[in-house]
Symmetry: C2
């Protein structure tokens, strides 16, 4: 068993993911916690929190530090690694991260909600020119022209990576903070600022990306967001009313896959997420133990 | 609107009830929090808690104090009042407590789990000689012979109350701490120690209480436990696998009645209870607002 094999993988480092992690650890399971660049920005921005039992009128950032401190004190490390696909296998799951594949017997999906709407054409062209991971799929676009939609700063790294493979790379910096990152952009990448992506076009395969003031002829569109929508992440995952469809024990329609937190639906609240992280983790542990 | 009318009543002062209370308060609703004599003894007894996100390796009693302090800091009072019945009405619920009736438009049931098993005959004879509340039903047993099963110290007060009404009162002290309370027992009450109740007998109405070494001829049996089973508390409440049957939004089969915490089923865990208390309260608020 090499280092990339785990009993339980937890995807997401918001309150649900952190709660799932401490509960998995308490039960003595080998876990990997895959988080984004900055855990739980929502909590970071909250001026004060009054409705998480035990802390009266605490600052959001102070509570965030307590959460991260708790996890750290229990010896749990957060691996910053954007997950782009979770593939059910015979005895567990293969988890595709930016530059590594992790294996786990059960998964807790705690990816939050993305406010992003899908672009017209995004869903239809997924796998037909649309990708969420340059390091995974970049090889398919050797000597071709592609565009990168960077809703997350990581999109800039992805564009740089593609510059070494593709004939031409367009980059749309669509996230905050991308201004400061300009100096890091590879000189072969053409930055297109102040334009919004409108739709992804093509008869079967992708042939163009329509922007507000021009159209780019491209064969690939890489869309880099902090959170990939759950059903895009896990092929075959059932969604209901825009949320992951879960059973009472927070299992999903895929055996061994559990969900917790905002991705299971409203209310989008801290205590709900922490509670669900616990329940999902304990049931994932039970699932493994019963196998 | 007199003082006993509320928008939301929360029954139980464990983690689920306390979390429901702070979330109701945050939403600006008029609430009553009806708790038992000692809130959350389970937490009080826990040597340390490691899996409630934000507190690493905290003592159970210390965490309990933080929970109670949070509720107090928000100006929420816990009324110590054992609830013995919740009756759905036209526009809400009548909540029968020991010596008062409260009215509320929605209810969050956070009563925990009782480890007590029902006595043989208890369910069949409820209302036919079996009662959970002396102050409510005592008048029906004027000049009759009754027995009080005191699984909670409050049973002693109930027996004293009945001594002023009934011809004869037997008391079985079945809870811890009852030894110290002996001096408080009314002299007309006959204490029967070191005997276990086995069953409640009678053709239609109650006629006897069988104990391990004798049988008492009684017309009434008062059973005083800290927690009354949810479906005994609320007539018509659906139960599934021994837990309150709840929907995804923690509503029950009775409109306006929500459940949270251990009474909704396993895992019996702190974070799960706190999260459910929040979700139940927010949905109870939504229920009222939509009416």
């Amino acid at each position: 068993m090499n280092e990339t094999n785990y009993e339980i993988a937890i995807i997401g480092c918001g309150p649900a993911g952190l709660s799932a992690a401490i509960n998995t650890k308490v039960r003595g399971k080998k876990l990997v916690l895959l988080g984004s660049e900055f855990c739980t920005p929502k909590l970071h921005k909250a001026p004060h929190v009054n409705n998480y039992l035990g802390f009266h009128s605490i600052g959001g950032e102070e509570l965030r530090q307590k959460f991260l401190g708790h996890v750290k004190a229990m010896g749990i490390e957060i691996l910053r690694s954007r997950v782009t696909g979770i593939i059910p296998q015979d005895d567990g799951f293969a988890i595709q991260a930016r530059d590594k594949i992790f294996y786990a017997r059960a998964v807790v999906l705690a990816t939050g909600v993305s406010v992003a709407k899908l672009l017209p054409g995004e869903e239809e062209k997924l796998g037909l020119g649309v990708s969420y991971c340059a390091t995974c799929d970049g090889g398919l676009y050797r000597n071709r022209t592609v565009a990168v939609l960077a809703y997350s700063p990581e999109g800039i790294e992805e564009a740089n990576y593609l510059a070494g493979i593709c004939r031409k790379v367009y980059l749309l910096p669509l996230c905050k903070g991308s201004q400061e990152m300009r100096s890091k952009i590879h000189e072969q990448v053409e930055v297109i600022a102040d334009q919004k992506p409108l739709s992804i076009e093509g008869d079967n395969l992708v042939s163009a990306l329509k922007l507000s003031h021009r159209t780019l002829e491209v064969e690939g569109v890489f869309i880099i967001r902090d959170a990939v929508l759950p059903d895009k992440l896990v092929p075959g995952l059932e969604i209901e009313n825009g949320a992951v469809k879960i059973n009472r024990d927070l299992s999903t329609n895929i055996p061994g896959l559990y969900a917790a937190g905002d991705n299971t639906g409203q209310p989008y609240q801290l205590a709900k997420a922490v509670g669900e992280g616990q329940v999902a983790a304990l049931n994932a542990v039970k699932y493994i133990d019963n196998k």
